[in-house]
Symmetry: C2
Subunit: 433 residues, 2 copies
């Protein structure tokens, strides 16, 4: 099994293929339905936050620290204690934070929409410009790319390295082209690789010299708290502080939420940014709403009490997720190591593992898996416009299925990888012959 | 006291003024701080919904009727049972409804933002047009006017009548001018008059023939359930059905929320609209978020059970608000009737009473009240750009203060009305002399 497929003879490969096809027919006959397409928490994880449903009851005092009745209108920036909790979570000063509703994606969308209609800090609204471009470290998060695409912004892929986006390219592009207005980043336990930006990468981000005065880094720190291990963790330099040190305090919009800490859809989201940017956000927000859900903010604060409570809570998430991530990695190792038909990341946190298949195989693998009852994220989804030029990248989302289902799904996945890869090698040999 | 001020001699008026000034000095010395500026529910009203804080606890099954776990991601349109409850509340088919987050104002803002950037049903995005105008039945809701103003849309006042907006003017303007793209309406227990659009007004709205194909009625039915009396209630024709009957199914966006039913800031908002419009809303929403807070939707449904539960609940609100509205009307009657220095509405529901002062007096009255410790909504606030050409309209918001405070505040208010009016009459007489 440790012989690389490319080193095997055509006869050996055909024999292997025949055997794999028998296995495939068998699993197909089982009629499984396993969904690994989205980064959703599993039920066991959701159960961890059920206590949040009873920290408030009909006799609770819903007055927050500054004396405001959380049930009523008002408090555009969010209640003080929630800003403090999320300040600790995001490693930012509470005064630099606005608490939003249930979705940081919504805040990011609204931010693009805001600069589209009203511009950044007095600059021309993007809707008035002939062309607006955005850098998309790729593979990346499909919903990020979807937002800029929806506004007609041109998404430009930038290669990811194990250290983060290729900063030589990023620096060059933003310095040369004033129509490049932003970049999407998931800097910690990135979607889909699960890698974290190196210290040097963050420092270079903070020192970018964009041609556009209204260029902004969209820093989606979605997985800041989402470690798998207690000691073996990635560390990310805090970007706001670094930008300030570098003399670029207004360069970044930072986003986070508790969606994968408490309940997706019923968490609280937040931004952290400089006072100048904050003014833009608040002017917009003051027309958009009278305030976000303060009762839910209070519920979160009373549930966690403080950041230690949240850290403890995240340890419980890790206990559920660690075996799943390890099972995926183990199966990939067992079934594929040495075959030289793909590589994969081994993240210390986050929600995803990235599999890079042989070029030209990703779509076929995902389609084969689908026919055997395993739904993966669409091949290409991690690329702008869904177009992966190498047809290589596949996002693995291990969180939602139970361990048994996950194991079955991954065995089917590796089977599909092997079949597709052999077929590809055989096709290539025929083409040459 | 029943002699009209205009019928009194200058000596009589001066004597009256001197007496009123003594009273004013007295109340000023009390150093009161009473806020009647916003339409906020009072604490007693908020207490009515505390039961909602415990319909869900740590042992609750948070699965909704279609089997979805409300704690997790998904369900863009809202859970079925919430669409049914709000369907009954809004008198619309659940399938024509999308449940949003905590604020209908936010939905209205996002709707303007959406048509600004992406247009209405394939028409040119409004940001690409040279001029966009909106009709603003006036006096009206300041936050509505603020949204369109924020996008650079030209707000055009249209006079309100006791039947609703002056439909002769509305029909003429929308037929003549294709740059008029919408109209703000609070059709039931309007802000600030508390009047409801007549059957004829609604029918004429449904039969509008706007020059602009992308003209939409922004129908903010904020007070649909907010009656003060059990039998003596306004009835509003349901606009979506009426538009459909009139062959204009796509003419209206209808908004509502539970903000003043449960908790402002922690309620659920919704739109109801035609399938064509719905497609626009959902395309946008699918990029904006993965879904709104379904746990809060479930909380609302489990708390009310059904529309009967909500109607019962609104009766309790009415029991709290009725004495307040009646106290305001009683004091206005007692202190001002016959003086011919102002008129006021006598609503059967909603959150406001509208006071029309003698022209040129509103700002002075509000400023005088402020100096005696009573904060009213700014004079002019109910007009586009805050400019009331007559300086006459003042919004009275009786809901938030307790009855004792409200009584004090209203006595101060009528005192200020009388002082300002006498001074105005005396000034006018001097000017003529």
């Amino acid at each position: 099994m440790t012989k690389a497929y490319s080193q095997m003879t055509t006869e050996e490969l055909n024999a292997e293929l025949a055997e794999l096809r028998v296995q495939y027919k068998k699993v197909q006959a089982l009629g499984m339905h396993l969904d690994m397409s989205r980064g959703k928490p599993c039920q066991e994880q959701l159960d961890l936050s059920m206590g949040m449903m009873e920290v408030l009851d009909s006799t609770s005092d819903l007055t927050c620290e500054d004396g405001m009745d959380c049930r009523n209108y008002g408090q555009l920036t969010g209640i003080r204690e929630a800003r403090e909790l999320l300040g600790d979570m995001m490693e930012n000063n509470p005064k630099d934070i606005i608490i939003y509703g249930n979705s940081s994606l919504n805040v990011m969308f609204d931010t693009i929409s805001r600069v589209w209609t009203h511009g950044v800090m007095g600059n021309t609204p993007w809707c008035k410009l002939d062309e607006v471009k955005f850098l998309c470290p790729t593979p990346g998060y499909d919903r990020h790319f979807g937002i800029t695409e929806f506004f007609g912004i041109k998404n430009i892929p930038v290669p990811m390295t194990p250290e983060g986006p290729d900063m030589d390219i990023v620096e060059k592009l933003v310095a040369e082209d004033a129509s490049i207005k932003g970049i999407w980043c998931v800097p910690k336990y990135s979607n889909p690789q699960g890698i974290s930006y190196s210290d040097e990468t963050v420092r270079r981000f903070a020192r970018l010299e964009p041609a556009a005065p209204d260029f902004r880094i969209f820093w989606d720190n979605a997985y800041g708290m989402h470690h798998l291990y207690d000691h073996h963790q990635d560390h990310l330099i805090e970007i706001l502080a670094e930008c300030k040190r570098a003399g670029n305090p207004d360069l970044v919009y930072k986003f986070a939420s508790t969606s994968k800490i408490t309940f997706p859809g019923s968490g609280i989201a937040a931004i952290a940014t400089s006072p100048n940017n904050m003014e833009d956000f608040l002017t917009y927000l003051s027309h958009q709403t009278i305030g976000h859900d303060k009762v839910n903010q209070l519920r979160h604060v009373r549930f966690f009490k403080d950041i230690h409570g949240m850290v403890e809570h995240m340890r419980k998430h890790a206990d559920i997720l660690r075996p799943k991530f390890e099972a995926v990695i183990d199966i990939l190792n067992e079934d594929l190591e040495g075959l030289e038909i793909g590589s994969w990341t081994k993240p210390l946190g986050g929600y995803f593992i990235m599999f890079s298949a042989m070029p030209g195989c990703a779509k076929d693998i995902v389609s084969r898996a689908k026919k055997a009852g395993v739904t993966m994220t669409n091949a290409g989804a991690t690329w702008p416009y869904g177009m992966d030029p190498q047809d290589s990248d596949i996002r693995i989302a291990p969180t939602y299925p139970c361990l048994a289902d996950l194991t079955n799904a991954m065995r089917i996945f590796t089977l599909c990888v092997r079949i597709s890869s052999i077929k590809k090698i055989l096709r290539d040999r025929e083409a040459i012959a």
